[in-house]
Symmetry: C2
Subunit: 401 residues, 2 copies
Amino acid sequence: MIHGGVCAAKGFKAAGIHCGIRKNKTKKDLALIVSECRASAAAVYTTNLVKGAPLTVTKQHIADGFAQAIICNSGNANTCNSDGIQVAQKMCALVEKHTGISADDVCVASTGVIGQKLDITPVEWGMDALVNALGDNSSDAANAIMTTDTVEKQLAYSFECGSAQCCIGGIAKGSGMIHPNMATLLVFITTDCAISGAMLHDALCEVTQDTFNMISIDGDTSTNDNVCILANGLAGNEPITEHNENYVLFRSALFEVMNGLSRMIAGDGEGATKLLICSVVGAKDMPNARTAAKSVICSSLFKAAMFGADANWGRVLCALGYSGADIDVSKVGVTFSSVAGIIEVCRDGSGIAFDEDEAKKILSKKEINVLVTLGDGKAEATAYGCDLTYDYVKINGDYRT
Amino acid sequence: MIHGGVCAAKGFKAAGIHCGIRKNKTKKDLALIVSECRASAAAVYTTNLVKGAPLTVTKQHIADGFAQAIICNSGNANTCNSDGIQVAQKMCALVEKHTGISADDVCVASTGVIGQKLDITPVEWGMDALVNALGDNSSDAANAIMTTDTVEKQLAYSFECGSAQCCIGGIAKGSGMIHPNMATLLVFITTDCAISGAMLHDALCEVTQDTFNMISIDGDTSTNDNVCILANGLAGNEPITEHNENYVLFRSALFEVMNGLSRMIAGDGEGATKLLICSVVGAKDMPNARTAAKSVICSSLFKAAMFGADANWGRVLCALGYSGADIDVSKVGVTFSSVAGIIEVCRDGSGIAFDEDEAKKILSKKEINVLVTLGDGKAEATAYGCDLTYDYVKINGDYRT
């Protein structure tokens, strides 16, 4: 694990500024990430039928497997606007005008309120400052893409690939409207590893299944979900063009980045006071394991119980029961744990006597593990989420005004 | 519409008492409904794999299409207990002992916390008082089955069937863990209409699709959902044994009862301050209409926005987009209305200018209508739900203690 976020890999610079899309001048609202050369590129997108206009433009621009820059604003999602596509294209054209990078090699993303026109003027005015600020500023970019997030989310790893030392890092935003399906939130990842666009896409899709697609904050799949990765090859490794040993090394490094960001997002869910981690073991197969784990994490009743540090394991059983996963209820076991200890609360589908005070102590910590044993096979999966709190309601009772 | 709830129909008596399952002595916790003769019986149950023990026993007892009594306790769901079936059978045996009605003709239900053993002792002690209290006491029974409900839920209608005047009425409980699928919550319906068990079952299943299966409070499908109907035939109409005109009359009356109870349940959702009604029109077919309407009603973000009287229609579009329904986003329209007025906020998938103050006024009322036009066909469906509030979190942060 290393410092530097999206600037950790060779040849990447980033910037984040306040350009005026948001009224609050202390909140950055425009981010730019550039590679010094064209990079292999891959992305996954929301499966919501209502899609942010920037996604359509990004999809076109990386259709050839290459890109060189990512521009992203917060404060407005540029979604459900009749002029959305034009505005997103204009943002790419502004990057070309100010950096010389072809607009066709620019990925664009927006996040914020849906259905209000995005005024391009502040972006135009801010481009000079944004480009001038390019440097080792991953943190500024991470801040500029935040909406209701309370902490910036970035991390980076170095790994060996063949004889070369590679770096990979990412930034993410996401706090509400988080229930990814095939893709999620906004995540931008950079690496100097040499890898083809096709292999990059395969690795991204594989890892997404076990990371971003396994988190949920509120059950609402966003219209603007987008994970985008650029690999510029400057590490000098032999390019990865097939599913070989180096591909596996790269995929592991990518998993570390995406899994780390997933946990950060879940723990910073809107209003959250706790990170909830549900691990299901002994499932028949992976789809059943994933479905069961995610159902627990998504249950409003379970989430509210965790907020209250109430060991109401019946709600875990209930969520498993309606999940759609193929499980034998009479074999289910549930154990809660945290840094304060571990406590078994259900065995063979029925409750067992446990110390309520001890359970309360365990569930009062910031990170809660729920272990569900199904006793049906060998598949396992982990899902991440957060508790449901007064502040979630407060934040979302009046988001726009 | 008439008075009397489950006692409106000829030959039905009800009672509700406090027997001691709950510690709070002012809260009734045991209900009994009896018919003076055996009645046709039908029921639908939760699809949750984790099922309350009483459901298994009820299913056995009405397998022959007949029943004569319903006993139900609140304060404990008798679910996920190793001795659950025996306790549920014991409750039926107690009804036989005290009324002479065969235990095999008794339906049993329980509602409350999951995974704590249900002590039969208070039920044994309370049976004398319960049977002595049998009379025109639908309200007592409705109160006795309540958990976090804040208002009792009962209603009744009279209707003509052939030359006979029939009555049909019901009571319901349900406030949290409400996201029915094929069956829901606890609802007990009585009628003096003469109708075969098979026709009763058909009507119940048909009407459930458009009523209880179209409400959601928190997305959590309960383990103990159960709608049970008894038809004792004392109205003297020619028995309904096929899908004829009288069947349609009966089904319409049943719809009125079940639809009315559905609205009551949605409006009394845990912590709710508002009843939300989402009507989708112009859908390709019924499944798409139902899926779209229910997705809006289930969205935590939309529910929180309604709590805040915030006309954040982007969240309606978002929920439609991830619903799985086959819709053309570019044709979608959204209109909010209440007793305070009506306001169009989205047309052809994009926002239109509207008066925010006017919208706030409309959304500040107790009953909010969201009209979604899809422009794709003629199917329509309506779903019922409630807003997401601080009190939902409060109620569920510490339900057990």
